[in-house]
Amino acid sequence: MTADHVHQEKANLTIAPIYSFPKGLPGFDQLKEFLLQEHNEVFSLLSAVDQPEISFITVNPFDFIPDYEFSLPDDTMLDIEVNNREQVAVRCIVTWHSEREKITINLLAPLIFNVESFKAKQIVLQNTIYTTKHPLWSSSEAVEEGGDS
């Protein structure tokens, strides 16, 4: 399970490429192709190519949680054909809520993009304190309630 240490990736996502998720996205297994659009400096939008009603707000987690870190599993590197860290971009799915403080980011299952092969996968971190519902704007490092890990 050791691999390149993923931290503070800098890969540019300036165009709006279509990424292939060979294994789909959990909960939407039938959808394999997603468009990743930069919306502004903070938010990018991940939309199912065939079903734009299935779209997600995503952010670069390192913009919000600077010390977020994990190791990319070997099997993931094979799945999306990663050979070096320059190919890797990380985004996390945001669950929007009308109350700003209830907006959360899924740190337990980051999206890993290979910006060269245009393959991507949502991975599930093992043995981690991260949860699917980390407050997006909280700077608190306290362990949040409702842990999924």
Binding site: P26, L78, I93, D148
Partner: protein, 77 residues
């Protein structure tokens, strides 16, 4: 559902290349060893279901997302 009885150290084989071995049993805690090809993803079920549910809750219509983000602009970070 197929039901099998196994003892500590015994295994079951699924297909040609997935082997699940009972490593230890202590009370109601069972430790399993799983050998599977790298392309087979293995998750704890409740965690995988939490990810599925979280994704389904997070999914929104693209147009709605754009409106939502407009509302957030100015309050970013």
């Amino acid at each position: 559902m197929l039901v099998l009885t196994r003892k500590k150290g015994e295994s079951i084989v699924i297909g040609n290349d997935i082997v699940i071995t009972v490593l230890s049993v202590e009370g109601d805690v069972i430790k399993l060893g799983i050998s599977a090809p790298k392309e087979v993803d293995i998750y704890r079920k409740e965690i995988f279901e939490a990810i599925q549910k979280n994704n389904q809750n997070a999914a929104m219509d693209l147009e709605r997302i754009k409106n939502v983000i407009l509302d957030l602009n100015g309050t970013n970070k």
